[in-house]
Amino acid sequence: MKHVIETKTVSGQSPNYLLAKFQDLVDWAVNSSRANSLWPMPFGTACCAIEFMATAASRYDFARFGMERQAFSPRQADVLICAGRLPFKLAPVIRRIYDQMPQPKWVISMGACASTGGIFDNYAMVQGIDTIVPVDVYVPGCPPRPEGLLYGVLLLHKKIKGESLFDHVPRREEQPLDDRGLRLPPGEIDEISEPFGNSVHQFRSA
């Protein structure tokens, strides 16, 4: 079979092409600035926070990746790093901190506990912070090594560089809790929180 390639002559560039080029340029400039100077809000609760501190200290030094300044106030932060387990008692706190952060904002969930509840499948623990705030990057590990966290940060850089100011992604808008006071429908929360892996086998009798 023979392919017929249709050719057309265009008089100059189309205006859309120029606009797209311009948008790319703007996106590139904005995203590189955003990605390369992320101000982290360390929401460190438990053991993972110690590894987070190790990542911040001299040997791993995440200032190399533009995270020089840790913002201890959510109002000056770009990325919320939830390092450690999140009990129900802390749930309204992280939600409030997330709400206080200005857009654009991202969330890294560091460690098994923040991502899924980890080994704590019990009455006290939120089974994954994604039932409460939207999460961009999950870093696995218990605790993740500093290299792991740095890799997660680099992934976030990648994600940020792929975003565009000009398409209306819903995550650039505030996502308040719905009228039930939840972020996700209850069925979905139950599904996310279902026991899996070893925590299926938790019995009191031997």
Binding site: T45, A46, I50, F120
Partner: protein
Amino acid sequence: MSKRTVELELATPGVDARGEPLRVPLGVAEPDLGTEHMLINIGPQHPATHGVLRLVVELDGETVVRVIPHLGYLHSGFEKLGEYRHYNQIIPLTDRTDYLSPMANNVGFALAAEKLMGITITPRCTVLRVIACEMSRIISHMVWLGTTSIDLGAFTPFLWAFQERERIYNLQEMWTGARLTTSVTRVGGMMADVPDDFVAGLRHFTRTFPKTLSEIDRVLTRNAVWVGRTQGVGVLTAAEAINHSLSGPMLRASGVAYDVRKDKPYLDYETYDFDVVVGEHGDVYDRYLVRLEECSQANRILQQALDRLPDGPVNIADPRVILPPKSRAMNDMEAMIYHFKQVMEGVKAPVGEAYVGIENPKGELGTYLVSDGTAKPVRWRIRPPSFINLSALPRMAAGHLLSDLIAINASVDIVMGEVDR
């Protein structure tokens, strides 16, 4: 009421006869200024509360009238989970209670389980556990030093302290494969013997660590800011410390020479040559001195332990308690059955109960196990040293300035994973 106001209003020079700053007398009515108390909230997400502690502070001007700690922001239900786990399966949980000294927690739990089951561990295991405990003491005190110095405005010691931690982390990783969550013990032994380079590496550490200590000592101990912000702050007398059930450096800084390692020896600690460090004023500064000196004592113990590390097996020989090596479990029928039974059914403990307290970096870590004869404990209770030490905070902080509250809170050396469990 600021010091200045005290000088003006009470017509005193603001210092007492010994030249120490006057504590603002509570209950002295403020002059014509408004006397309404103010309630401020610190935490649960605040860099100076060392975790997710929340303090509600009632202030009179800048003076703390009352502190109400709110806890439980990291309550993870450890003790409940323990009822659903075999004894060996609890050991990974113990890492995560006091995550600044995971190896010492592992040892504490293993000792209690062994007391319950009546197991005597091997000599090599005993010494290795001492090494584990003292390494933990050093890294825990290093975190304390680093974070406290940040709280009081010095950033450099933080970097030095974390450098030392990284060195111990390397050794821990060499031994257990994990930097933080070590799970190094098993009931009746250790998860593994130390690898070949470990002893040389630890020796190198014990030789070089005192240098860092003396650097920290040089930077902080006579530093005017440090001394000014810590001396005479948060004083507890010996009687109060005992009545509040404090333990560890908090108790010793108040002048009570009680150290579980000396007074209720475990792991043959009575045969090591080390000093119990005791403070005399019971203030924040003394707690700092006690912890700093404990680091060098821990270093001494490490050196002695390395010198005496005997050869021989690390695990006891009982195949019902200790897992057979993987190669035997794969080839030998009997070993495989023992392997299967231990993994599926766990190790059964006789009916009874046991309490073992060990001297953790934070204080006396107690493990109280109650068994009804099955492979899972009826009750696994952690006596949390920093929880109990923290309960003296309202007593210590009342009458001090708000900025002193931060120093006092830091001096307790809390780790929220253990406070809230």
